[in-house]
Symmetry: C2
């Protein structure tokens, strides 16, 4: 044993669990009067946000919430959603952000699987949440309604309103850091490609590091003004609620992606940064020019969630966005790679520059590795830009695993790397480029759709014999689900019937946009040859 291993242990003075809660406390101490959150006419400072989070934590603890419990939220990008990212983990509990676009069945599944003790919900989603609560078989969570002046509806489901709940909490609540930086901080369900959604668990360490990595990889200055065009329920808004606390910036809230409102907020609050899927930039590009009047500054924009077409990158740059392309998954806390720009690229013609920027790039500063490998041999493919393999991540910005799903966790991490299910190549300069996908999902307007879920609904229609769903390129949504269906002998069904059936059982965005009745291509053993359908639908051209 060397001298360096004696008498040099951890102690409370030199070791503290890494947690993004520390960022909030720092900003509240150093910049108590700087604006933290803007929402319509509401304004909070970092001092106030910290107080609200402590109240929230205290009120939750009074209701019995503690370490290892789950608190779910069904919220748009409102101040309560910012609070939730701190107030809930302050109790040792885990924040489960629900995708507000999901239907009651999916929500009910998540509340049950995640064992949510408390649910904070917005009136806009009351019908869905009411139906979801009705579906619950076990004990129901405590429901807190977060009313919002920016939304007309006041439909309530729970016993207490969010502001009243906060009022019952102690503004000086003595919260504690997690016992261990490996403790869970968030639970994010991702569309299961093999059945039910999987619960991706994040830890405090990863949230802390990715929040910092966002600042470093994007070169984000302190006090940036960040517009919430990205839903905070997506991978915790790519960790930006924590990033904005770290850099004492401004969260400009936004309930829905509406170009007129977005431009108005950019103008009036001098927004400097935003994130979004390609569809968001598509909407902004195609909005009437007049909406941009008076905006003189450039907005830094991260783009991810689906492959950004060159036209979107070019278009966004033309209207004054400084676009950086990132890539990642729910399992990697959102983007964990960045298409790091080289100053030399500025000299390229815009189309060649867009091509360079269209790549998924290299690992984030605080992610350890991103590579492309043959998933069988776990050997890296040559960096020739041609040999296909699976993209794999490794490092501290990778989930703990899937909740209550050891098998899926083991598979995801097999061979010591996280398997993304994205297929692509390694280019000679070490940048990865996605070309296709091995997992069965469709990404439409930045939202994931599990082909399997849609297929299961199709099979429930009495006329359907066999069904397969694949991604089909779409000008606006990037990809849309396309269904290939074999109907039972003697059945008489129309595409409209199928769509209607799907509407009844699926969230809107999951309903197939294209339906084809045909004989499905099969292997000799009767397995559907999805690859052939994907070729037919030109899936890869949408993904890559």
């Amino acid at each position: 044993q060397s001298a360096y291993e004696q008498g040099l242990d951890r102690n409370p003075a030199n070791y503290v669990p890494l947690s993004p809660l520390s960022y909030l406390e720092r900003s509240a101490c150093v910049y108590p009067n700087r604006t933290s959150v803007i929402h319509g006419a509401r304004r909070y400072t970092w001092g106030q946000t910290y107080e609200r989070c402590r109240r929230l934590a205290s009120a939750l603890v009074q209701r019995g919430v503690g370490r290892g419990d789950t608190v779910a939220v069904m919220l748009p990008n409102v101040p309560a959603m910012v609070d939730a990212h701190f107030g809930i983990p302050m109790t040792g509990a885990v924040l489960n952000t629900l995708n507000t676009r999901l239907d009651a069945e999916a929500i009910a599944f998540m509340l049950t699987h995640g064992e949510a003790k408390v649910l904070i919900t917005d009136p806009e989603f009351a019908p869905t949440v009411r139906a979801a609560l009705d579906l619950l078989e076990g004990p129901k969570p405590l429901v807190i309604d977060a009313l919002d002046d920016e939304f007309p509806g006041k439909d309530r489901l729970g016993e207490i309103e969010y502001e009243d709940f906060l009022a019952s909490g102690d503004p000086d609540y003595a919260w504690e850091l997690p016992r261990d930086e490996w403790d869970a901080i968030a639970l994010n369900y991702t569309s299961g490609t093999t059945g039910n959604p999987k619960g991706v668990v994040y830890h405090h360490r990863g949230a802390y590091l990715n929040a910092a990595s966002n600042i470093i990889s994007w070169g984000m200055p302190q006090h940036a003004v960040y517009l919430w065009t990205l839903p905070m329920f997506h991978c915790n808004g790519w960790c930006f609620p924590w990033t904005m606390a770290a850099n004492a910036g401004v969260n400009v809230c936004l309930r829905k992606v509406d170009p007129a409102l977005i431009y108005e907020l950019i103008r009036s609050h001098h927004v400097t940064h935003m994130c979004g899927a390609p569809i968001v930039y598509g909407l902004l590009i195609n909005a009437p020019d007049g909406l941009r009047a008076g905006i003189e500054h450039s907005v830094a924009g991260l783009i991810a969630g689906a492959a950004p077409p060159a036209a979107i990158i070019e278009g966004a740059e033309k209207i004054g966005f400084d676009i950086t392309h990132v890539y990642g998954l729910t399992e990697t806390y959102g983007p964990a790679s960045v298409c790091a720009k080289h100053p030399e690229w500025n000299d390229l013609p815009i189309d060649r520059r867009a091509e360079r920027n269209g790549r998924q790039g290299v690992r984030h500063h605080m992610q350890e590795a991103l590579t492309v490998m043959d998933p069988q041999t776990m050997q890296a493919v040559p960096a020739d830009g041609e040999t296909m393999g699976e993209l794999m991540f490794r490092g501290n910005i990778v989930m703990k695993g899937y909740l209550k799903n050891e098998k899926a966790t083991r598979e995801a991490f097999s061979g010591g790397w996280f398997h993304t299910g994205d297929l692509g190549v390694m280019q000679p300069d070490g940048y990865v480029k996605i070309k296709d996908r091995s997992k069965d999902i469709i990404i439409s307007g930045g939202e994931n759709i599990s082909s399997l879920e849609v297929e299961e609904v199709l099979y429930r229609h009495p006329a359907v014999l066999t069904a397969a769903v694949v991604a089909r390129p779409d000008e606006k949504w990037g990809e849309v689900p396309a269904a290939y269906i074999e109907i039972k002998d003697g059945s008489n069904v129309t595409a409209e019937d199928i769509v209607e059936h799907c509407r009844a059982h699926l969230a809107r965005y999951k309903v197939p946009r294209h339906i084809e009745f045909c004989v499905l291509p099969k292997t000799s053993t009767g397995k559907i040859q999805k690859f052939a359908l994907r070729q037919q639908a030109k899936s890869a051209s949408a993904i890559g």
Copy 2:
């Protein structure tokens, strides 16, 4: 046990020890052709620096260096010093940067105490190092001479020259991350206030976090051009060798602080960032105006190491520096607090702004806490700007402890906080301000001097009966050592005799600048009342 604690363990895909070595690898992969190091006519790219570091690691391993060994370096700010920050830890060994201004005895002590197996040394320090090696009683380290075209001397001490040593290493050496992020990465001796220097041990985790914290707290952009006006041997250059690897910037080397050369380098390489003690900025302010001709851009400058007089902050701003004041100690990896600026301060008159900026401030982003406490009761003092207490740090940017010195380690961390030995107040806005010092050191031109060491040398003079050394304000150096001496009856000695004696036994900068023969103030039990001498010398006015 909650569901969050089952089947969600660490594995190679989701957990990697935090180490700044990862930053180097990333920059070498992403920016292989960007400049990493400039030194005179020499230029390296990040690809080349990475290769040099791997060669260094490989060559060291071939010589038997491994985990827990110490490799010492006696180097100015030259490319080999940058390499050392990566190549040495790549082997699992610990980098011990020696203060090049020390004398042979101090160096010999450190080589012995740190058990250095290898020493890399620059010809400028050959006389000192030769004498130090002669003093060693145990086995001598392998000595490697790092010759440098920017220095005329070629005085060699060792068996092998640095570049030849590198040539013997493998450029593709498969180095590994540390087994544990708590593993030691660096050893920095700090002037012992109670006798021998203490060996401050850093770990990979802290080096990684502080390197990132430098970027975030300073708002340092990628590819910054950093001029090495701060010695890399001081707290590993405040972790900036690792920071520059993280942001793929340029290290502009500098053997010595020479205003003409500094301005020339700022001009020719468009330097954007630099660090230094107040004396460095003092030299730049007082240099002839003509030296600044042609420099149009502002340089961001961190200032620390001693309290910066308002005149220095103002003066530096007037000649185009954008000054940020930071504070810390060897024990906190260099600066671990920052006088975070508020935009509102820009509207203040320059003297009031300088006063605001003259405070030691608030914790760095990635440090957990900085406070002012009564060291007896460990209660925070009121934030009234008046009540004195001791500044204390807590968090991940605090050393592992002192090497082979459990007692000092325990004392330093008593009560769960790191005791800085600096005295000051907490202002109402949560910013700390240093007013005095409880530890017996003098900080002259950014270099620490242990009063005790000087006193011990004084006592060795045959005429000295009692001696006490305290800090005295000095226009140029901030503080200088002042000696108060009682001479033996019948002795006949002059101030010049004392100075001559000190010159023979102390590094230059430690020699008292002021000598007073007097009867020393003592307590009833005969203990010297240093506080009275410090009052007499106006020490606090230099420190605070």
